[in-house]
Subunit: 119 residues, 4 copies
């Protein structure tokens, strides 16, 4: 279900988060579905349960999943996941625009660069 690449130097809980987020956003894990339990995922990936725990906790804080004590963790309903992700990405785009601005590149020039890149 999830593949973790051990050789790319980011914290493992980040990689777990990324994998789960992608499964959710792509629809592979539909809204309302139950995620594997922390323990299940920990053994199947041979990763420390604390690490999985942290990934789940942060995904919940970011609105992708909801955890129900005693029941498990579920993909958030109502499009919460995509909305959360869009907010994050817009944030990143804004930050990047600010960095470009510091080199004298305006937002519309960035837009042009994006269009040039388009296939």
């Amino acid at each position: 279900m999830i593949q973790i690449n051990y050789h790319d130097s980011r914290p493992i809980y980040e990689k777990v988060k990324d994998s789960l987020r992608q499964l959710i956003l792509s629809g592979a894990l539909p809204e309302g579905d139950r995620l594997p339990s922390v323990r299940e995922l920990a053994v199947s990936l041979t990763i420390n349960p604390n690490t999985i725990q942290r990934a789940y906790r942060e995904l919940e804080q970011e609105g992708y999943i909801v955890s129900v004590p005693g029941k498990g963790s579920f993909v958030a309903r109502g499009g919460g996941a995509r909305a959360a992700r869009m907010a994050e990405l817009k944030e990143k785009l804004s930050a990047l625009a600010a960095e470009f601005e510091a080199v004298g590149v305006s937002r519309s020039e960035m837009a042009d660069m994006l269009k040039e890149e388009e296939p």
Copy 2:
């Protein structure tokens, strides 16, 4: 000359690098100009000289400055700095575009978001 924000958890040497890079890219430190010496900057920011040293070393590796033992550190000539920075930023923009794509947002839609943001 430089202000370091102590409340953002990134490594200090990264913050120093960012500040200096911006001063260089904005032209506040023109090409060929001498930077403050490692020790001067260390005392003025009350940061350990080794930390400043590391910032300078990495800025040199990235082509922003040149350090001459016994003489001091200087802003690199030949406009290498801006070119290096533009390459970094384009790389970031590409990566971000890929992330947007994973949520079904095309490059031209990103471009639109940028224009909306424009004042």
Copy 3:
């Protein structure tokens, strides 16, 4: 595993880097293998951990190894190491050819010198 020659005046971290690079390029440390931890190597060579750390950090920047916080440092996968090294060496050869040229020795004469040296 590694021998450091203390009588050649180059920085210690450079010697450590060279030794490790050679172990990697020769295949003695295969791709994906774990390197000794910073602390282990430090005690076994009686060198300060910071010095080893610097060697590892630079080897990572150059693409030879990958460091995963909390897990260890690993030889980079994908054969990036040899490619990186070949690029470095070709660069050196070109520079040397230019120096020979300044004394009136052409590239093909250099080639002859190399063949004479061959056992």
Copy 4:
């Protein structure tokens, strides 16, 4: 007569040595000619006399020039300069060949690379 590029991060006495060596090898300073005195060169380049002194001393050790106390420094006669330089360069080439060998590239393969580069 000599131009020193202050922004390339090598010790100044090395740059002075390189400049003088090139003037000698190119014939711009013919055998037997007198070099400028240490003091003259120091003031004309606005460089510390100690630095010039060191360059001269090392050039003498390497056989490019001879210093006659009370008279000055002179370009070595009898082709000493070129012979010295060739020895240095052959040494460098050997060292580089050893580095290539460590990556599995033989001397004859290096020779091929040199010929490919030839215009």
